[in-house]
């Protein structure tokens, strides 16, 4: 079998992907990036295919990014969100999914607050499933777009040092990023307040820090995570100002990283909490490039998955 051939019906997580599969998605995304620069930003590739965006949890940017990716591939798409839907009327998750499947979609993009829901549905549905975030478990397309952005700037992933800083415990992007980056040969450091560091990160292959400076010292990439201010009520940290003083990425602190380090953030960012404005808008920031990369990576994933029929998967 061709090593460059995609064989999976679903994209559920990074954990099960091989380095060759990751490479194939990133290389394919490279070709799709160019579509956004054309006068006509649309290709007929998924004409006649139907994609359902099934979002059980609010998400503006991930859903918009998938929607644009679907439209640029000429797929027909439908957004199904839970507010006002049958789920509020007592229908079970599986019944909702089976009802949607009865309309013969080719792909279902799903976000849910509980880990494992996309995996559950993937076993029940004939359609291909794309995990768009299942709780704090996996968010594969985010990790892929981060890797895509890093690779564009650094030309490679192996041998890089990537520091991920912030609310490690509640972030939906950390696990997928650790899986992906370690598989591709990067060294991953994670750093956060002790109250935001879950156990078991070392087992995933990450080095754990409880201070910012040593974590970003000599790093090629500094990835800041959103601090959800609503978590303050749970006493994970005393105040936004206190957090800024301890853990925010400021221009002075960024000097500890390599001179050519890039600064990333999955958004939405809190200026003045986890990141200073002059860093977010500074020359090392690639935060808006991540957004553009998201569309290209999602186009690549939808393209690859749509070529696999159930009997082959």
């Amino acid at each position: 079998m061709n090593a460059r051939a995609w064989q999976r019906k679903d994209l559920l997580g990074i954990a099960e992907l091989s380095p060759a599969e990751i490479q194939l998605i990133l290389d394919t995304a490279e070709s799709f990036r160019e579509v956004a620069e054309r006068p006509i930003k649309k290709v007929p590739t998924l004409r006649g295919k139907t994609v359902i965006n099934l979002f059980f949890e609010a998400s503006t940017r991930t859903r918009s990014s998938f929607e644009i990716a679907e439209k640029r591939l000429s797929a027909d798409n439908l957004n199904f969100s839970t507010s006002g839907s049958a789920l509020e009327k007592g229908e079970t998750l599986i019944d909702t999914a089976l009802n949607l499947e009865a309309m013969s979609p080719d792909l279902v993009v799903i976000r849910h607050r509980y880990p494992g829901v996309p995996h559950l549905l993937a076993g029940r549905l004939r359609s291909g499933i794309v995990n768009a975030g299942d709780g704090a478990h996996e968010h594969p397309t985010q990790a892929l777009l981060d890797a895509f952005t890093i690779r564009r700037h650094k030309g490679r992933l192996d041998g890089l040092t990537v520091a991920i800083v912030g609310d490690i415990e509640h972030s939906r992007v950390v696990r997928s990023n650790i899986h992906l980056l370690t598989k591709m040969g990067s060294r991953v450091r994670v750093a956060g307040l002790r109250t935001m560091l879950p156990a078991g990160l070392e087992a995933l292959g990450a080095e754990v820090f409880t201070d910012l400076e040593p974590a970003i010292a000599g790093a090629d990439v500094v990835m800041m995570l959103r601090i959800q201010t609503e978590r303050m009520n749970r006493k994970l940290f005393p105040s936004a100002r206190e957090y800024f003083r301890l853990f925010a990425l400021t221009r002075e602190r960024l000097r500890a990283a390599r001179e050519d380090a890039i600064v990333m953030h999955p958004g939405p960012m809190n200026r003045g909490v986890e990141i200073a404005s002059d860093v977010a808008d500074g020359p090392q920031s690639v935060i808006l490039e991540q957004v553009a990369a998201g569309v290209a990576v999602r186009m690549a994933v939808l393209y690859l998955l749509s070529g696999v029929r159930e009997e082959e998967a």
Partner: protein
């Protein structure tokens, strides 16, 4: 089924003469090279576009812009083949508007690649005219497509294949017919 080389249709010297004649025809058709953009269809159309551009530059003393076009996303058989073919990047020198785009491909066969290439190309702009230049026309069209500039017409059987090699990509300039070993 292993295909073997049956006949060499063009060797290196012949192929260079053919490319030179094709470049001459392109100039004649367009009264010069000032508005031209050569667009190679991936993969073997790209070295043909480069070879033609080299000849055109030698004849006219002016560089002609070259682009490359990957037609994977425009194929009409994506729903019948699996898994998905690898997508490569396209690069079109902008803008195409008002210029003459010369699509270049190594072999013209069913015409489906050219149909896809036309759709792809027109998403990049509105060229004043689109022409088609192919090194080999082997017949067996499935769509009403014809080339404006042809290197060599070669009658073939459907089971045969045409293999085009370029110095730049394959180390040698050559056109061969591949087929099963002839009996007797």
């Amino acid at each position: 089924m292993q295909l073997i080389s049956k006949v060499t249709i063009l060797d290196g010297a012949q192929m260079r003469r053919v490319v030179r004649r094709m470049a001459g025809e392109i100039l004649e058709r367009n009264g010069g090279s000032s508005d031209l953009v050569l667009v190679g269809i991936r993969t073997r159309g790209v070295p043909l576009a480069e070879a033609l551009a080299q000849e055109l530059e030698r004849m006219e003393g002016r560089a002609v812009p070259i682009g490359s076009l990957d037609i994977t996303l425009y194929r009409d058989d994506l729903s019948t083949i699996a898994p998905q073919p690898v997508v490569r990047e396209s690069h079109i020198p902008q803008p195409l508007d008002g210029r003459v785009a010369v699509l270049c491909d190594d072999v013209l066969y069913t015409g489906r690649t050219v149909r896809a290439a036309l759709d792809a190309l027109l998403d990049y702009g509105r060229p004043r005219r689109v022409e088609l230049a192919v090194l080999v026309d082997r017949g067996h069209r499935e769509l009403p497509v014809q080339a404006d500039v042809v290197g060599k017409k070669v009658p073939t059987r459907a089971q045969e294949e045409i293999k085009v090699s370029f110095q730049a990509t394959d180390g040698v300039d050559k056109v061969e017919i591949l087929g099963r070993e002839a009996k007797g």
